[in-house]
Subunit: 337 residues, 2 copies
């Protein structure tokens, strides 16, 4: 097929532009080192709702509404929405996006969801199926802790390898209308299970999938880290990043000179006590939208490989003694001169 | 854009062929009126595994392996897998499909998942991104009851409007290689919430979304039921079907002459005590793969609108007092002469 590159990648038949983005985050994220970059910071982590899950839905609604507003568009302009989240049956998306009344493709890629959403959204636009589409996702610290680990009222101790789920939602509008940032390539991830059984160590669970994706991507396009201004993973945190760099080195595709991780940017892990860093679908979505993307738009970075990472953690499978496999989804974002 | 038809539909740039399918079901489904059609019936609803969730993963693994075997292909031939299921964090798919080591797009569309998967899979092939892809899904009666309602050991009473989650997995291989059945058009659904709050009445929760999708589809393509040999919904059951027929009639796009529902075909609701009919992701996937598709392949039916239907039921949102919204995803399957 004409657009297949190597075993796992495609080059889009035409570039798909990032028309506009918006990020909505909670108080803690707003107080972090990149707090100034976000579009909206809410002092109330319930976002006016009466449950954590509804709060997360509110964030998605706000993020998409704001992205539309910034782009001067109404929801009618969106042909498809690609969205998902961490909650069982992806309720943050279902309830948050209902009122837009747009055709919806619900996704589940754990914390890699924005990578999966940007992949399918850009493939859809590049194929000529749509002029403008939306890709978005979210996570909420309290909702995620309750679902996956312990209710926060338990005040359980957090090991240093644990990550802190970001309360936030990032929305991207993609389309054919030319802007100064575009998605040009997609590399799709496979599930990898390296035997991690620790629900508090998501970085270790995700690093192998991220390393495999980066290696497969470089192999498919016959490139090295010299060809990128940055390779940006989603939410590996400090522990996952170390594993990633070592695995990439061993695989012959080192990324030590250009690697960034959204989870390590969003919080100050000393002052904010977030242990290994930030995590959750909202981590990579908001950090890319508000912190990294402006560098690409400004032309400081010409080509970036964005690799949101997900740990396929489920309370049911975990309690049944299963491992926590990982997945990653990669898209190349380039500056349009 | 060149392939957009009306507000919610696309006509694929080239037809995408259904290369092969496979269906794996449990004992009860095998004893039902269309039991003879399925490829594999397992007497043990645990499928050799030690939990219901792992059993569901086993079914997906078996279904995809069998579809590949029937097509004379190995997993290397699959460029992408599009899959999902009902379980939180879609663990049936994650754990069931890991060993194929193929690029995976995880989906969540509740019981409409096979519609969503066939939509995105055929869009991907038609765009030239892949030669062969897989679309599959599953559900398991015991896993679903435990997650969404009551553990089956409680032996709770089932109201007559309730449906019985099908234990089964249906897998489709789609590609460019010509066969006698093809996907030609896609209509994508929006979430609809008509206020249903009864976790035992999924038919009522889904019928409005199905009716809206059928109406939007007919409007987009300027057709009526006369243009179809069949309009096949996923798992509305007896109660949902009645609502659907009435809503379609009111909307000016009646489908009374050609409507079928997979949930009403798979069980004998009197003899098998399944109340309003079958449901679950596996219901529409297995019934289409093994019962309806052969009619299209044989040319008895020339054009069918397949509309898997999903109720966005989540134990968390439901327990927090939320409604159960519905969604539907439509694809047109045509005979290739």
């Amino acid at each position: 097929m004409e657009y297949q590159i190597g075993a796992d990648s495609i080059r889009l038949p035409k570039p798909v532009y990032i028309i506009e983005t918006a990020s909505v985050v909670g108080k803690k994220e707003g107080e972090g080192p990149i707090g100034d970059c976000f579009d909206m910071i809410c002092d109330d982590d319930r976002f006016g709702a009466d449950s954590w899950e509804k709060a997360e839905s509110e964030m998605q609604k706000e993020a998409l509404t704001m992205a539309l507003g910034k782009a001067g568009l109404t929801s009618d302009a969106i042909r498809y929405i690609f969205a998902g989240d961490l909650l069982g049956q992806t309720i943050a998306s279902s309830f948050g996006l209902m009122s837009f009344e747009r055709p919806l493709f619900g996704l589940y890629g754990a914390c890699s969801t924005i990578g999966e959403a940007l992949s399918l959204a850009s493939m859809t636009v590049a194929a000529g199926y749509a002029e403008t589409v939306a890709a978005l996702t979210s996570s909420h610290f309290a909702g995620a802790e309750r679902q996956f680990r312990f209710p926060i009222e338990y005040a359980n101790q957090r090991p240093l390898c644990s990550t802190w789920t970001v309360t936030g939602s990032g929305a991207f509008l993609l389309g054919t209308k030319k802007t100064n940032a575009k998605i040009t390539e997609v590399t799709t991830g496979k599930i990898m299970d390296m035997g991690v059984r620790d629900a508090q160590n998501m970085g270790a669970a995700m690093a192998p999938a991220a390393a495999a994706l980066i290696m497969n991507h470089m192999k498919d396009f016959e490139r090295t880290q010299e060809d990128y201004d940055a390779v940006i993973t989603g939410d590996l945190g400090k522990v996952g990043r170390e594993i990633l760099l070592e695995l990439c080195d061993i695989s012959g595709y080192p990324i030590d000179k250009c690697h960034f991780d959204c989870g390590m940017q969003i919080f100050d892990h000393f002052d904010q006590h977030t242990c290994a860093g930030g995590s959750g679908c909202g981590c990579s979505a908001t950090t890319m939208a508000s912190y990294f993307l402006p560098r690409i738009k400004a032309g400081k970075w010409k080509r970036v490989l964005f690799v949101p990472t997900g740990a396929l953690l489920s309370p049911v499978s975990f309690n049944e003694g299963e491992n926590v496999p990982g997945i990653a989804h990669g898209v190349v974002i380039e500056h349009e001169g």
